[in-house]
Symmetry: C2
Subunit: 305 residues, 2 copies
DNA sequence: CGTCATTATTGTCTTGGACAAATAGTTGAC
DNA sequence: GTCAACTATTTGTCCAAGACAATAATGACG
């Protein structure tokens, strides 16, 4: 029996990354979503609507506004999804499509081998920028289009995690500058971004200190002092609310010593338009090298205001 | 003169893990916390109260109830923090104390080397059961007693993750029976338990499929079918509500094919008294070997596709 | 001492209103 | 035509007080 019982609002919040408040206010303003009610009068969302909400969230992270998206039908939303895929055509696109297919068909061994081969061929920096980052975006898009499920996405993530962990273990740096603390704020649980940054920093002779995800702000401050790092680098995925990210960065910047730099990277910082004082926004991996170069050009690593 | 002007409710939610709703209802019911208001009438929490909220949250995770905790003063809370769970001494206890001290003093290199040495000495199975699992419990206790911070706990977890990932990568099994899917339910984000189980399964010639944490139930079912596993193994940490775990296990058992076994492990299943039909509870690692042996002795277990 | 029914506790959901930050649209000066 | 400043709209988050179901604690009874 494949009955679709529907989910409560808390599950929808977890699945889509849209807050309960947002879900309720959308229903009030736009007339979408239209959840049923259970015996207790609480919202019960049909799974088709949850999928659509996730798709809308993806499109919003790309810059579209909810007011416009709500008026569109299924076909129009799908057209918007397709639009960008074709727009960003690059020489590597065919290869990425082939790999996306390996993900869809759960061909774990072929995928793993292809990863190692391509990393050896291009070197770490280009591998991360040209292959891994776009492929992660592709997988996310495919997920939002319901072309693959959470299962495939998790398996894909596990392969990448394994790849980076083993590669990094073999590179094992015990020295280098600057020393960079890698973590995320509470609520951001994606680790892959941190691993990619760690790999890039290691090949650039920096010394990353990987702390894992979800560290409260005052613990980040304490860790930065104890580990004597020159910079703190945070990662934000698309799911993280830009407003929360900006607030967290301001909080952290205030408590962190002035001579400790603060970098913020990942797709989640792209929607942040307004620059935050004393925070270096790193929306693309390329910008990470700029941050690194800027630190190295400064006298003694001291920040000059 | 307070250097920290205070934080909005969203930041407190992020820092403490208490929902906005909970924070507001506590204020209404118990008269704590007592945030100031800004010009717009929105709550502004003093950092001292945020620290106290975090402390209360820790005590609640250990089983205390908020209604009692709210009436206590600073000293009484600290007394509860210090209160120790009954620890029975074992020959390895001194060694565990020494290692806990390495965690407290952030001596990463010494800890890592001690781990590898001890694993080589005892073998994987005994290393996991006698050293890693008790040490994780120790670290959890020390954290709840405020003897070490989230920073130290994160660093400790990262070392263990690195250890297991690299060891597992080198063992890299491509075959073996039974095939076991490893994951957690949504809401349980701890991965270390899964990695330990994976290591034990590999040395026992089973074939684990690591899916990572937080897979929705219907995706677990789909993954089990596609990967043609003989069993699904879930992990629950102490933080996970036993009632939620039991409910999730019943739901999953109902949707999973009858010939696919369901194992549930971790400290989180210990409080589950009532056996669940068709679910094998694995509170200790030793019980995992029993499950494995039982599968292998069953007539259906020997059939290889 | 265990088992069942009752009572207390506690987190989450509800509604509808309000407002500030961000974005879009408009006007005017150069 | 370009850029700046001003106004209008959009949009996410916060607030209040009430309600209820799930969990834990308590008491009654065999």
């Amino acid at each position: 029996m494949n009955t679709t019982p529907g989910m409560p609002i808390a599950s929808v919040e977890r699945e889509t990354g849209l807050s309960k408040d947002t879900l309720r206010v959308w229903e009030r303003r736009y007339g979408f979503p239209t959840p049923e009610r259970d015996a207790n009068g609480e919202r019960v969302y049909a799974s088709a609507q949850v999928r659509r909400l996730a798709q809308i969230k993806r499109l919003m992270d790309r810059g579209h506004r909810p007011g416009k998206l709500m008026t569109l039908d299924e076909a129009a939303l799908l057209a918007l999804d397709e639009a960008r895929s074709t727009a960003w055509a690059s020489p590597d696109d065919l290869q990425l499509d082939a790999w996306l297919n390996l993900v869809k068909t759960h061909d774990s061994e072929a995928l793993q081998q292809a990863f190692y081969r391509e990393m050896a061929k291009r070197g770490m920096a280009r591998f991360v920028q040209d292959i891994v980052a776009p492929l992660i975006a592709r997988v996310g898009e495919a997920w939002s289009r319901n072309e693959l499920g959470i299962f495939e996405e998790h398996l894909f993530s596990q392969h990448l995690e394994k790849l980076f962990r083993t590669t990094l273990a073999n590179m094992a740096p015990q020295t280098g500058h600057p020393r960079v603390l890698l973590t995320t704020l509470s609520g951001e649980e994606h680790t892959l971004g941190l691993l990619m940054v760690e790999a890039l920093l290691v090949v650039e002779d920096a010394y990353p200190v990987l702390l894992g995800p979800q560290t409260p702000i005052d613990e980040i401050v304490r860790a930065a002092q104890i580990k004597a790092v020159d910079a703190v680098c945070l990662s934000f995925s698309t799911a993280y609310s830009p407003a929360l990210a900006a607030q967290g960065l301001r909080d952290l910047r205030q408590r962190l010593p002035a001579d400790t730099q603060l970098w913020a990277g990942g797709y989640g910082v792209k929607p942040i338009r307004k620059a935050i004082d004393g925070v270096c926004l790193v929306p693309e991996f390329q910008d990470l090298f700029d941050c690194l170069a800027r630190w190295r050009s400064e006298p003694g690593g001291k920040t000059v205001n």
